[in-house]
Amino acid sequence: MAENSKQTMNDTYETTGIPLLKDSKLSVRNVDVFYGDKQAIFDVNLDIGKNQVISMIGPSGCGKSTFLRCLNRMNDTIDICNVTGEIKLEDQNIYDRSIDVVELRARVGMVFQKPNPFPKSIYENVAYGARIHGLTDNKLELDELVESSLKRCGLWKEVKERLLEPATGLSGGQQQRLCIARAIAVNPEVILMDEPCSALDPIATATVEELIHELSQNFTICIVTHSMQQAARVSQRTAYFHLGKLIEVNDTSVVFTNPKHQLTEEYITGRIG
């Protein structure tokens, strides 16, 4: 551990813009991530505000997904992955020994790049989290939860006739909204989305973006995207990552109109892909 921190101190850097907030939902301090010997994230400090949408952008391989997966400890599932530093979810360090990851992931949900509905019925997909966490006491409550979750994702009308049909029969966009419904059914506080629209066509993308916008009233959302237009459309703040470092964080409008850091500017003007 000591050696690792030395390594990061050797190339210290300042994040440009406003990474820290007064009032935050998640606060990330001095986080380094290693895959075996290889460091993927360098000393990231970032606050994420409550009921805000923050988007993470940057060239591919810069560590956006890795960073996002730290926030609900999904990196625990990768043997060689090692996270150091501190990430607080409302004053609780989520890497503390006393933290139960099951409960953490109920509070911090995740939606993935490729829609990944379970090979079960639509109903069972949405009910999955509720069953695991024992959120409902009887079938009636579960039915209601499924219905309300699907309604919040604007999917209810499309699927209410076919709740018991396999979820894999839905279109890509519907599948991704189902995955979002599945995530919000456990009523998380934060939703992490890793390029949720990259496998969707433009129309499905627009629907999902609209959904993100609506959800942001009740949830804190962290979204990784490779589309700068999407970041501009859905998020209030934008964080720019480069080679594992958090280069610049600011209000989305500032990042896109008036970037302070040269790397950010090069990226958003298309000089770094």
Partner: protein, 475 residues
């Protein structure tokens, strides 16, 4: 010249043709401005020329070996005295055998009579002609092949396509050998089974509850005895297979889950090969393990239980009777034997479940075992069922363990502590020793074989269907 020297000569000729072909193609390349201006690479011209040398010669050897016996014996037969020509086919065959033996210097002419001398002489003469003519002709054909092949080497002739076609044909022939053999076996089994069902009614065979093929040996009872009831054998087979699957499915499945989901790379590297070794142990070894270790152990344990039951006045235990050959012993050992089938197939299908489904489940806060129970297992289920069915058809077809550990007695029972027998074991016992080929007893083996074949074929087809359906889900 013996056959093996001829083969070596042909192979050497092939290699020589290759080098001649290569040299030739390089030399024709020079005037046209190098190899790049040839229609194809020199190695293809060389291969084509060597194929020209090899294949016709090989074909000739093959045809010669197949035909020469019957052609020669046909010629010899025309030399036979008139009365011999009118013999029935069986005695004629015997006679030809005797003539053949004489031609090789075995026995004396006295036994046959002097009138057969011309035939024997003719045979000796023809055999020697054949023996000298074949190598000469083969070498000649090879030479012609080489010349024809040599002439194909032209700058504008694309030898690559011809070589491609030849390999295509070779591969096709190889695969059709397997297919044709399968069909041959099926038809012969089918044919003999039909013979059997002319002696024993089909219904008596399929629904009969008494299996005792020995009775049929008594001449007055052939075909009429009705002792070819297959039900006890089927029940025995199913009983043993069921015991085997009861062991193999849970153990195999759980070890597959452990290997796929929990084991570290190092542990996996040890356990997986170890399981595969289990699959490589010859079944006869399992068989004597079952007969010499497991069966006596079960019997001893059962006797102990009985004595204990008698002492403590537990009536039903006191009457416990474990035979020294039992379905349980065979089933247990067979179960161990098919563990690797279940585990390695299940391991494959579990690994084929996309990581994204695991991530989705973990992301919702599910633990590892919840994810396995609720997502991975259901997703892999069709594939696992396929694996289990394949293991079942393996268990049904297994013979050695049962012969050694479960006995030969065709008891109609579902008590695993008694001796039972299976379809495969009965096939073995029907055919070992000297048998009259067309007795109902021998033919019964074919009918049993057909029965077994149909059952395992059905199981395999279902299994493959299920596995295929599962594949489509993710590909």
């Amino acid at each position: 010249m013996t056959l093996s020297t001829l083969f070596i000569a042909v192979l050497m000729g092939t290699v020589v043709s290759y080098y001649i072909g290569r040299g030739r193609s390089h030399s024709i390349a020079k005037p046209v401005g190098g190899v790049r201006n040839l229609a194809t690479l020199p190695s293809y011209y060389a291969t084509l020329m060597s194929l020209w040398a090899l294949l016709p010669a090989l074909l000739l050897v093959f045809l010669w070996l197949v035909m020469d016996g019957s052609i020669i014996s046909g010629l010899v037969r025309s030399e036979l005295p008139l009365e011999a020509k009118q013999l029935n086919p069986d005695s004629l065959g015997l006679l030809m055998n005797q003539i053949g033996n004489l031609a090789e210097g075995v026995g004396t002419l006295d036994a046959l009579g002097a009138e057969y001398k011309p035939a024997v002489d003719r045979l000796i003469h023809l055999n020697s002609i054949s023996a000298t003519a074949m190598p000469v002709l083969v070498m000649l054909v090879m030479l012609i092949g080489m010349i024809l092949g040599f002439r194909t080497i032209k700058a504008d002739n694309n030898a690559r396509y011809a070589v491609e076609r030849v390999f295509n044909a070779v591969l096709f022939i190889s695969s059709s050998i397997a297919v044709l053999t399968t069909f041959g076996i099926i038809f012969s089994v089918l044919f003999e089974s039909i013979n059997f069902f002319q002696k024993v009614p089909f219904m008596d065979f399929v629904f009969g509850t008494h299996w005792s093929p020995q009775i049929a040996l008594r001449a007055d009872q052939v075909g009429a005895s009705g002792s070819f009831g297959v039900i006890p054998l089927i029940v025995g087979t199913l009983l043993i297979s069921l015991i085997a699957l009861t062991i193999a499915v849970p153990v195999g499945l759980m070890s597959a889950i452990y290997l796929a989901e929990y084991a570290s790379r190092r542990v996996r590297g040890v356990i997986k090969p170890a399981l595969e070794i289990l699959a490589g142990i010859p079944t006869v070894v399992y068989g004597f393990f079952a007969a010499l270790t497991v069966a006596p152990a079960i019997r001893e344990y059962g006797d102990g239980l009985r004595d204990w039951g008698a002492e403590n006045g537990i009536g039903w235990l006191a009457t416990l009777n474990v035979s020294s050959e039992s379905a349980l012993a065979a089933g247990l050992v067979m179960g161990i034997m098919i563990i690797p089938f279940v585990s390695s197939l299940s391991d494959d299908v579990i690994n084929a479940v996309p990581q994204s489904l695991r991530d989705g489940s973990f992301g919702l806060g599910a633990t590892k075992s919840e994810t396995i129970k609720k997502v991975i297992f259901p997703a892999a289920l069709p594939g696992i069922v396929g694996g289990v069915l394949l293991a079942a058809s393996r268990a049904i077809g297994e013979t050695m363990i049962v012969v050694m550990a479960a006995g030969l007695a065709a008891n109609l029972t579902v008590n695993p502590l008694e001796a039972v027998t299976t379809v495969t074991v009965q096939i073995v016992t029907l055919l070992v020793g000297d048998q009259e080929f067309d007795s109902a007893k021998t033919l019964a083996a074919f009918a049993l074989g057909l029965f077994l074949f149909v059952i395992t074929l059905a199981l395999n087809i279902i299994a493959l269907r299920v596995v295929k359906k599962y594949r489509e889900q993710y590909d």
